[in-house]
Point group: C2
Chain length 187, copies 2
């Protein structure tokens, strides 16, 4: 159902260039740009997942300024977009939080720019979202992507955007925007 | 033709909240995220338009690091994306630069989140891009959008994304990504 779609941006656990697992740095634009895209496409909540205290502190300062401080007065749209924003330590906390809100666990959608087998097309997932009774949680990675362990617990593995392009390195902010437009579009 | 599509991000002249004309601040993500989206969708060049010396200096430092410095070694994809990036002082310089490359002036596409009359749909512009012999230049605004004087010199005025959404305040980085996906898509 279109009114139970959630998005999470994963900063831990994430693959580093050398294949080891790290926590990636949060950027101001991960908070703003993705909240604004999610709000535009009627996403119920956008979760940023980071377990690092210093990174979480940066995000809290951004939220303070735009939701409670001068930013929200100057630009009320920013404040409005951030109303759907929440920060969690781990993916497990996000799943628990959705279960708390909806009374049931979400179906999880894995995304990646890498080519892989058994993916669901955007077209097919668009249909699933419209008919599925469970909440849907779409995961996006940072750094060099999410590890296999997250893909394994996911219900759907979404095909890459522009898999056949010579250059296929969209920012995660662009990937979220395009994915939401393809899956939810103008409806 | 799909091989003569150009994008420009306008930082001057731009509307401020109160309707006056200003130069907006450039962000690091205006450079990176939009270059990466443009490169993925095979845009020929991405121009950032700013007339402010201090702002131009920031952009030059970003480019230096990622194209000539350590950044390009650590992450060659960023360097590759920035190969299509150019900075110009004014929109007139962008038009001149395209004329220099293509031997003809581009058709100009205006974009805005605001509702207005006589817009072309994404579907229609997608067809035009495929059949038009002239180069195409798609303009995106920052701040509170581009002024009327730019709309007046444009050949096409593109419909807003999600005009019917209750909340319609995408970041320009998200708007560029979605627009390119709609106009160029997987082709």
């Amino acid at each position: 159902m279109l009114d139970k779609v959630y998005v999470a941006l994963i900063h831990y656990p994430i693959l580093k260039k050398d294949g080891t697992i790290v926590s990636t740095a949060v950027t101001n634009f991960d908070v703003h740009d993705i909240s604004r895209s999610c709000k535009t496409y009627n996403i119920k909540k956008y979760f940023l997942v980071s377990n690092l205290p210093a990174q979480r502190k940066i995000v809290e300062r951004v939220i303070d300024y735009w939701v409670y401080g001068h930013g929200g007065e100057f630009n009320p749209n920013r404040k409005q977009a951030l109303e759907i924003f929440e920060m969690e330590h781990y993916l497990e906390d996000v799943i628990e939080r959705i279960e708390e809100i909806e009374g049931e666990k979400p179906k999880i959608v894995f995304t990646s720019a890498k080519a892989r087998k058994n993916v669901v097309t955007h077209e097919k997932l668009k249909d699933i979202i419209r008919t599925c009774k469970d909440p849907i949680l779409i995961l996006f990675g940072t750094g060099w992507g999410m590890p296999e362990e997250i893909r394994e617990i996911s219900d759907y593995d979404l095909e890459p955007i522009k898999a056949n392009s010579e250059f296929n390195h969209l920012s995660v902010r662009a990937a979220v925007a395009i994915t939401l437009d393809r899956l939810i579009g103008e409806n």
